[in-house]
């Protein structure tokens, strides 16, 4: 699958970078990091223009985020029809309004495996669209820049870089989720539900 997608970058160029980053923002499993690294490698070998590769990957990611956010928003409106769930969503909205910005920003690149779920969740909880867009576009710029430049610099070691970064971002994302759930557990212990 990965070999096929990477071959398609050779065949069709930057449009494939757009497609993969777009789909990966919607939680569809795509080797987008490896694709961007390879894109950077193709820039280094002179087969792709730097601006073309970067803007294709970037536009894919930004439109993917927006699509995910809108899907989340529709799903949230549907969920909020039940009063109990609406109360929960409102509570989540209060939380995201306070801490959402840096969360959106960091989930674009540092904790990138969480990105798509932040898109859906942000839309569903009614997080402010303008804030989501500003933090999101900034974060995606960091994500695309890091991966395309690493591919450019390490064209001869792309598989290694992808392997190391893949595990590093998996580790960071899992760690953040563990810490979050840990806080939740602690809260649950301190505030036991009344019988």
């Amino acid at each position: 699958m990965t070999d096929l997608l990477l071959s398609l970058v050779a065949d069709y160029g930057a449009i494939m970078l757009f497609v993969t980053t777009f789909l990966s923002c919607l939680a569809i499993p795509m080797p987008s990091s490896l694709m961007m690294l390879a894109g950077g490698g193709f820039v280094a070998s002179g087969e792709l223009g730097l601006t073309t590769a970067v803007s294709a990957a970037y536009l894919g990611a930004v439109t993917g985020d927006q699509t995910g956010f809108q899907i989340g928003r529709k799903a949230g409106a549907w969920l909020a029809r039940a009063p109990k769930r609406k109360a929960l969503l409102d509570k989540a909205n209060a939380l995201t309004t306070r801490h959402g910005g840096p969360g959106v920003f960091l989930s674009r690149w540092l904790f990138s495996p969480l990105g798509p779920y932040v898109n859906f969740g942000g839309g569903a909880t009614g997080y402010n669209w303008a804030a989501f867009t500003i933090w999101g576009t900034l974060g995606e710029a960091v994500w695309v820049t890091i991966y395309v430049s690493l591919g450019y610099l390490f064209a001869d070691h792309i598989t290694e870089v992808a392997d190391i970064l893949g595990n590093a971002s998996g580790f960071l994302a899992a760690l953040v989720v563990t810490i979050g759930l840990g806080f939740w557990l602690r809260y649950a212990m301190k505030h036991p539900r009344k019988p």
Partner: protein
């Protein structure tokens, strides 16, 4: 401690399970990260193998091959075949990626010897 765990298990089964799963995933990624970093820090493991998606120009660039050497690896004159990836090139010629890899290894070995 056990009492509290028991209570958590009784009242927040799903949350506790999710926490354990996430912690296990964190540990797994940490171990894998260490393993791949150690593996790749060994210079013997730093040679990126040839892959079917690579193009002749990518090959020349990342393995630092001259036009002559590239021609020796591919078995054909690479001018004008830049955007064709190895998968297609090999199909046309009826050779395998392994064969190409051994040609490349021979050239690299010769370069080191020189």
């Amino acid at each position: 401690m056990l009492n509290r765990l028991n209570l958590l298990w009784k009242n927040h089964k799903l949350l506790l399970l999710a926490f354990i799963l996430a912690a296990a995933a964190t540990l797994m990624f940490a171990v894998r990260l260490v393993v791949v970093t150690v593996y790749f820090s060994n210079p013997a493991h730093q040679n990126q193998p040839l892959e079917g998606w690579m193009t002749p120009r990518y090959l020349a660039y990342s393995y630092d091959l001259t036009a002559d050497e590239l021609e020796q690896v591919l078995g054909i004159d690479p001018t004008g075949v830049s955007r064709i990836h190895l998968n297609n090139l090999l199909k046309d010629q009826g050779i395998t990626l392994q064969e190409l890899q051994s040609r490349l290894d021979r050239i690299k070995a010769r370069k080191v010897a020189e």
